[in-house]
């Protein structure tokens, strides 16, 4: 039962994202045979070292979506304070409400069924532009971002070029 609600909702979100794609975002199921696994492409925001880059990520939805949030994992080299070295994205909108004992994030920032894939992807896009320095997922990247911005940007630019096969 719940999973049919989830797949209906996902299908509807897929349709919305196809008809009205936000700038720099392409997303949809890898195959409609399994609507719970999506692939998204996110463009790097302009005026950041991520500019011109295209970053693929995999979204995995739980069977009780939209009650629980999906997980998101970049499937490219991503050097960013809020992305774990394995690609997993750590951002408040992907955290279920009431999950944060440290109260770093207010409930409104976290996942709730009124959020959507589109909002997640837009949040991730702005996260690329503005890393959140609190509770970093990649400590090395966070330190470099803080202390050696030039080096950080160079790694990011290298990854952008590598990703485009240049």
């Amino acid at each position: 039962m719940t999973s049919s609600v989830a797949s209906k909702r996902l299908f509807q979100e897929y349709r919305t994202l196809t008809n009205n794609p936000p700038d720099g975002i392409t997303a949809g199921p890898v195959s409609e045979d399994d609507i719970f696994v999506w692939e998204a492409l996110i463009q790097g925001p302009e005026d950041t070292p991520f500019a011109l880059g295209v970053f693929p990520a995999e979204l995995k939805f739980p069977r009780d979506y939209p009650l629980s949030p999906p997980s998101m994992k970049f499937t490219c080299d991503m050097w960013h304070p809020n992305v774990y070295p394995n690609g997993n994205v750590c951002i408040s909108i992907l955290h279920p409400p009431g999950d944060d004992p440290n109260h770093y994030e207010s409930a409104s920032e976290r996942w709730s069924p009124i959020q959507s894939v589109e909002k997640i992807l837009i949040s991730v896009m702005s996260m690329l532009a503005e890393p959140n320095d609190e509770s970093p997922a990649n400590v090395d990247a966070a330190r470099m971002w803080r202390e050696k911005r030039g080096e950080y940007e160079r790694i990011v630019r290298d990854n952008v070029r590598k990703g485009l096969g240049l």
């Binding site: 196809t18 392409t26 080299d77």
Partner: protein, 203 residues
């Protein structure tokens, strides 16, 4: 006075027991060390030759350098013994937390930051991943004509939104095409930017 004479033997006993305990603690790793060279590595630790560690690490990249160092240090720096141990299917012992070889700690920062990008480049680039190599070359040779001809079907759908099709396969293809266009467009822009700033190739 009488109380003191009782206390001194007790004190000696405590000292003796303490000494034996410490001695036992330091020599206890020996018996399971393969019995190669005992004693030499107990008191003062002989530094392990980094070249030897490197040698073993190259043979068995899956092993941690710290484990290798520990084993080499315990068998008196015999690469052969360590190699045989690993090949024999006996995994290396995990060194105690107190084991902090200097070579390892000094090389740790250098090895942790740059390779953190290397092991992650398991990811193929987008061109390889979506098999776009042919499309790049066709774009380069003749402007945008091949791309636009393949877009003919898309443009029908673009009348109503960006092309939502009632047909599942068609939807899949449209999504695929949008992905490819996004990647190719980004690459084109990057190449244009490269041409524009061809002077500073340093990056």
């Amino acid at each position: 006075m009488a109380e003191q004479t009782i206390n001194i033997p007790q004190l000696l006993a405590v000292l003796l027991v303490g000494f034996l305990a410490v001695r036992w603690y330091f020599s206890s790793p020996d018996p399971n060390g393969g019995g190669s060279s005992r004693g030499s590595n107990t008191g003062r630790t002989r530094p392990v030759d980094p070249a030897q560690v490197e040698q073993v690490a190259q043979m068995f990249p899956q092993l941690s350098r710290r484990d290798i160092m520990w084993d080499l240090q315990r068998n008196g720096g015999s690469v052969q013994a360590t190699t045989e141990r690993v090949l024999g299917g006996r995994s290396l012992e995990v060194p105690p937390p107190s084991f902090q070889p200097r070579d390892l700690t000094s090389s740790a920062p250098t090895s942790s930051s740059p390779p953190s990008s290397t092991p992650r480049s398991l990811h193929p680039d987008l061109i390889t991943r979506y098999n776009l190599a042919s499309k790049i070359s066709s774009q380069q040779t003749s402007g945008n004509s091949p791309a636009s001809s393949s877009n003919a079907t898309t443009s029908q759908g673009q009348g109503q939104g960006q092309g939502w099709s009632q047909n599942k396969n068609e939807r899949q293809q449209l999504l695929q095409r949008r992905r490819e266009e996004m990647i190719l467009a980004a690459r084109r822009k990057m190449e244009e930017k490269d041409k524009a700033t061809g002077a500073d190739e340093g990056n």
